[in-house]
Structure formats: C-alpha cells, structure tokens
Symmetry: C2
C-alpha cells in the first residue's frame, strides 16, 4: 500500500501536508512516495503568471487565515514567507534527488520549515546548503548532483507526468489512479490506500 | 451560538453541505441561519462568465470525481444535473423567502435533491411549484411573494453582503466574522461556534 505525495515548495497547503504525511501514513501502514513537482507550468497553461491567491486577493486573504487556523491546530509555526509565491525550483530538484537517495522526506520538511516558519529564502543556495549540512550531506557536491542536465530533466518529466495524470494543484495525492487534492484530503487518500 | 450558511443552488459542494448542516449543527447545539446567495456576480467580478469547473476542465473532472466519493460516503445520490451550472436564481429567491417564513431549510434540501439527485430543472417554475406543494405551501402565491421587487432586492442585498464580508465561493460558513469555505470546513465552523 502506498500513496504518492505530489508537492510544490511554493504551495502553502503543501506545508502542513508535508509535515504530517509521513506520520499519518506510518500510522496507517502506508508507504509514501515523495514526489516534488512544479506548479508554474500548470498555472501557466491556465493563463496565470502568478499564484491564484495573488491574482484573486479575496481568496488569498482567506487562504492565509485558513492556513493560520490549520497551522495552529497542527502545532506548526506560520510566518509570511520572504516572498510569495517562492521560487521552489532549486529546492524541488534537491528534494527529487533526496527522494532517490533516501533523504527526501527530511530535506522536504526542513525546506518547508525554512520557507513558512523561519522566513528563510529557499531560492538561495546558502539556505539550501545549510539544510543539506544539517542532514550530514556535502552541500556543494549534493547541489552539483541536483544541477546536472539529466537531473534537471527528471524534475521536468515528473511535472509532465503530474499534468498527464490530472494534477492541477498542490498538494495532490495519488493512490493508484485515484487523485485526492488538498491537505484536507490526506486522510481520505490514506483510507483509500487501506481498502 | 449560530453559524451562517451561505449557499448557491448551482454549487456542487453546497449540495452535501446543505444535506448535513442541519443535522450536524443540531448535534453540536448550534443554530443555522440559511442564507442563499448568488455566485454569478462574484465570479463575474473575477472575469469568469461560467463555472470555474467548466473554465478549467481538469479541475472540473476532479470535482465530479471528488463529489462522487463524498456523496457515496454521505449516502447521497449524485446524478449529473440537467445543466451545469444550473440557474439557481428562482430557487434562491424562494429559499430566502422560506428562510424568513420557517420553511427555508426544507425547501433548500428538496431543491438540492431535485438538481443533483433527481435531474429535475430547478429553473423551471413547475419543478419549484411541486417542491412547494410537497411542503404544504400554495405554489402560485408563494412564487408571487418571491417575485416582488422588494424581495428580489433582498436577494441582491444578501449577495452584496456576502461579497462585502469576503465570500468568494460556496458553500461558505460564518461564525461571527470568521469565514470557513467549503463543505469540508463545516465541522471546523461548528467547532469554532462552540468555543
């Protein structure tokens, strides 16, 4: 039994999802496949060149209030990121590498905390290097592996796969072909995986 | 303790919300204020002249699948409405009248069932008349009361109030000034009301 967790580092609701998916899935006896991807190409195809939460400010205002309630209930710090939406490209490449090498979940949680709790700039190599170092990885060598043309292409492929499978936002969960969208659908996805 | 329930008859997720809000609120000891309104002016102001689920088909496809799962879990029949989005103007005027006169909740549930479970055309006076008759109301007299200029203006005012308070979709719940958007936030709204 497994659930595929598609997430984007700029996505607000992906933050509480990333912080709890491992714990809840473990309790449910379900494996998690950590699958970072990019929302930019998806939003671009819908004619948006910014987060819909910025394009529709009333919806954005609600989202931040909703996030505050969710994070409070989950015991998570929430501080306005240094920019929104953040550029999560470098973090996504590293997370994908980490997903291959066994440190993807830890890196992902640390990068979400840096962006949404610590007001660090996760598009800055120095911030990413500090996260990698805390995971006992060699920052320069790891960043170099994440920046090879082959690896860059893999993140592109992962995003294209998400689009082909009907992903239109983040976080998204797949159990086989069954899609669940949103942090608030995580429990449903895990229940589906256990059927 | 009370929760204001803002709903639009064309809105898919308002259907399961309308079918369970009375029951859940009663169990929580919370009163429900049934507040029909129109999404059209809100979507229009965002530049949409159709449901976002039609404008963004991938999102629409997911929504119908998600609705199928929700309705199955709630024991509700779900059949594709005769048109989507349905024109809920007449039903909303009647529901608002019913909200004043004490039959708003029953009318609302019957109209949602007609639209989403029975493939009836709720923009048709005959369908609405049959619902009113089943509630032991005089259909012609009731429809006439709902169609006075004063009453039409009241629905417009209610929609304007929703916009002014930050409503951008349906269903929406208010506990005082605290806004909760979506059928999946009903439990949170009731918990907030009980604090």
């Amino acid at each position: 039994m497994k659930v595929e967790f598609f997430y984007e580092f700029a996505s607000t609701y992906s933050y509480p999802a990333a912080m709890r998916v491992g714990r809840l899935a473990e309790a449910a006896g379900v494996d998690v496949l950590w699958r970072p991807f990019l929302l930019g190409p998806i939003f671009g195809a819908q004619g948006w060149n910014d987060s819909p939460f910025n394009i529709y400010p009333v919806k954005g205002q609600y989202m931040w209030r909703d996030m505050a309630r969710i994070c409070k209930a989950d015991g998570l710090i929430l501080k306005e990121p240094v920019r929104f939406p953040q550029n999560g490209l470098k973090a996504a490449r590293l997370a994908l590498l980490g997903s291959d090498e066994g440190w993807g979940a830890s890196f992902t949680r640390a990068a979400y905390l840096a962006n949404f709790a610590e007001q660090e700039d996760i598009s800055d190599d120095r911030v990413l290097a500090a996260i990698l170092k805390a995971l006992s990885l060699d920052p320069a060598a790891t960043i170099a592996r994440a920046n090879t043309p082959e690896h860059k292409a893999r993140l592109k492929t992962q995003t294209e796969e998400a689009i082909a499978r009907g992903v239109f936002g983040a976080p998204s969960f797949f159990v086989g072909d069954e899609l669940f969208w949103g942090n608030d659908r995580l429990e449903d996805a895990l229940e589906w995986a256990r059927r």
